[in-house]
């Protein structure tokens, strides 16, 4: 059964439309990640589901029932806020116990049971030493875990997490990512989680909902979104550190088809060229390549036939990020192994041809559909 359904939901604040006809579904026990840059409408979407905002149009179903007119406390949800929203005048233990002491739930628990449950949750999160502290006496990571504890104790139908680990430092973020994933699976609960970080989305989510400027871009499993981004925007999100794009034109010469600009010429199989010609009258293409799919070599080879220069480089332990000056553009390459390079050094580069992405320049749509075979592109 679909635990959460958002159907053509619209929401405006004055002249700004934050959510534009958003539709998606989430199954029971699934972790649904809403991925998008800041200002994409992630938080608004979450607030609409929680009932903190009234939607202008559309329907939200929770557990199969229309929830449009339900107040937040009637929806049986739990939510952590980006700012954690801990109650500053209560101790950690009072903060965590607060949902169980709500008027409608109070009758179900004795004081002893509440105490027991608080201790259980605190132990699970490793904050049992902090129960008598006030929120202002805690570090960011500790506050985050208290906020998490307050969410977990309730055993709600759906958990909502609004960028819960965005403000933690990198190490702690990485640790919490794994811990939260494990937690979600042990609880077998439905989770909706927002983030602007594809890696986080991919690490935590069973299903990723990509949105931009309030509009749905793509829904799918993380791997599917990585392998078959529906447009250049989604592709850009999945690139680390950032996407490389070339603007090219499709030309025909001597019975052959080529994608070219001033720096590069790629020969296309005929089938693929026809496909482009059918969908794209202007024949203009945005070529996308992930940093990890750029081949870098100090010697010329078949795999790295193009001359380039190193603009700058960042060794990151086991990884190496190189910014490459290639013709008119700067490309980012991410190498899995270390190699000795220097600024302004001449190098040779190539692309993993099977991992090239072709987008319509105007609409941004990915021209290569999942499963289509057109033969390979070559330089």
């Amino acid at each position: 059964m679909q635990e959460i359904v958002s159907k053509n939901v619209w929401k405006s604040f004055g002249i700004i439309t934050a959510v534009k006809g958003l539709s998606f579904e989430g199954e029971k026990g699934q972790t649904l990640v809403i991925l998008g840059p800041s200002g994409a409408g992630k938080t608004t979407t979450l607030r609409l589901i929680a009932g903190l905002e009234e939607l202008d149009q559309g329907e939200i179903y929770l557990g199969g029932k229309l929830a449009n007119d339900l107040l937040p406390y009637q929806r049986n949800l739990a939510m952590t806020f980006e700012s954690y929203a801990l109650y500053p005048h209560m101790t950690v233990s009072e903060n965590i116990a607060f949902p169980l002491k709500a008027p409608e739930r109070k009758a179900n628990y004795s004081n002893k049971e509440i105490k027991e449950k608080v201790r259980e949750v605190a132990q699970l999160l490793g904050i049992d030493e902090l129960l008598n502290r006030m929120p202002r006496e805690l570090s960011g990571g500790q506050r985050q875990r208290v906020a998490l504890g307050r969410t977990l104790i309730k055993e709600p139908r759906i958990f909502l997490f609004d960028e819960p680990i965005a403000h933690l430092d990198a190490k702690l973020r990485h640790r919490m990512r794994g811990e939260m994933k494990r937690l979600f699976k042990t609880l077998n609960s439905t989770v909706i989680y927002t983030t602007h970080d594809y890696i986080e989305a991919s690490a935590i989510g069973d299903k990723v909902v990509v949105i931009n400027k309030g509009e749905l871009q793509q829904v799918g499993e993380p791997q599917e979104i990585y392998n078959h981004p529906i447009n250049d925007f989604v592709f850009g999100l999945t690139c680390d550190p950032s996407a490389n794009f070339f603007q090219c034109k499709l030309v025909k010469r001597n019975e052959g088809y080529y994608l070219e600009n001033e720096d590069i010429t790629l020969s296309l199989p005929k089938k693929l060229a026809n496909k482009i010609l059918l969908s794209n009258a202007e024949r203009e293409i945005r070529l996308g390549i992930r940093p990890i799919d750029i081949v870098v070599s100090t010697i010329r080879s078949e795999k790295a036939p193009l001359p380039a220069e190193i603009y700058t480089f960042e060794p990151l332990g086991s990884k190496l990020i190189i910014t490459i000056k290639f013709g008119q553009s700067l490309l980012k390459a991410k190498l899995g192994e270390m190699m000795k390079v220097d600024i302004d050094q001449k190098i040779w580069i190539g692309f993993s041809m099977a991992r090239l992405y072709l987008f319509d320049l105007k609409t941004g749509i990915n021209i290569l559909k999942n499963g289509d075979k057109y033969g390979s592109i070559s330089i």
């Binding site: 929680a50 009932g51 903190l52 107040l71 937040p72 406390y73 929806r75 949800l77 739990a78 939510m79 806020f81 700012s83 929203a85 801990l86 109650y87 500053p88 005048h89 607060f98 949902p99 709500a102 008027p103 409608e104 739930r105 006030m134 929120p135 202002r136 307050r150 309730k154």
Partner: protein, 281 residues
């Protein structure tokens, strides 16, 4: 460097002058309250004299007309005390509602708040005549209740306005978190927002009390012998033939003591109230 020093000296001199101007009347009244009538009436103000406590004894323990000063003090306490309570109970939830509830438009909300505040700006004299007519008709003149109700004109606008700004400073997310945690508006008010503004509200209560305690005009028109507060009673020391300067000064000193004590307390709380936003967890 030299310039900075001069600036500081001038600043201190200025502060001292202002302090003296403000405090001198209190000082003078205090001196009068411990002087004998002869010393008070001396042609040149006397700073060295034989201090006496008769004036205080007269009004606190005395007999006849003078002894009723304690009664007036009690009247003031009842009227300003209950008046403050009523203002507080009405204006704190009202301020909360104005800060938090969604009305059809933000503008309506601001209009309501500003209309209330305008009662505070408006001269009390403007409503005295209709108030007196109504009170006579309703039989509220010379009653505690009548005075307490009239004092709401002072207490409620101030209370609503300040309570509204206190509640407005609390991050909305706390209330939202509580509403998701299963609480309705009333409980959120009671368990989250109210405890967070408690220091500020203590200062507010003190402020309302001081303003109501100090009121003169409403009492002048509405109060009678049985309900007269100290502000009015002090006038009683001015007789047809003579002015009882000594007793009057003693009465003034006694009547400003509660206000001074509360003001000092309020100062402490006000500082807390003002820094509240900065230390929020």
């Amino acid at each position: 460097m030299q310039k900075e020093k001069i600036r500081r000296i001038l600043l201190y001199v200025g502060a001292i002058v202002v302090t003296v101007i403000v405090l001198f009347p209190f000082f003078w009244i205090f001196l009068n309250s411990i002087k004998s009538p002869i010393d008070i009436g001396a042609a040149y103000p006397k700073f060295i004299f034989h201090a006496i406590s008769e004036n205080y004894k007269d009004i606190l323990l005395g007999t006849g007309a003078k002894s009723s000063f304690l009664k007036y003090l009690k009247n003031s306490l009842i009227i300003a005390g209950l008046g403050t309570l009523l203002s507080f109970v009405v204006s704190v939830p009202a301020g909360y509602a104005l800060a938090r509830l969604k009305l059809r438009s933000e503008k309506t909300k601001n209009n309501i708040a500003f209309t209330l505040l305008s009662f505070w700006f408006g001269p009390e004299l403007a409503i005295l005549i209709p108030l007196y007519t109504m009170y006579s008709y309703l039989g509220l003149t010379n009653t505690y209740m009548g005075l307490i109700i009239a004092y709401q004109v002072i207490g409620i606008p101030l209370g609503v306005w300040i309570a509204r700004s206190f509640f407005g400073d609390i991050p909305l997310e706390l209330a939202e978190a509580a509403s998701i945690d299963g609480y309705k508006l009333w409980h959120i008010f009671w368990k989250i927002d109210l405890p967070l503004v408690r220091p500020g509200l203590a200062a507010l209560a003190v402020l309302i009390f001081i303003f109501q305690w100090n009121n003169f005009v409403f009492a002048l028109v509405i109060a009678g012998e049985g309900t007269m507060p100290v502000t009015l009673a002090i006038l009683g020391f001015i007789g047809y033939s003579s002015v009882l300067w000594g007793q009057m000064s003693a009465a003034i000193i006694i009547s400003i003591i509660p206000a001074i004590i509360l003001a000092i307390m309020a100062q402490k709380y006000l500082v807390k109230g003002l820094t509240f936003g900065a230390v929020r967890g």
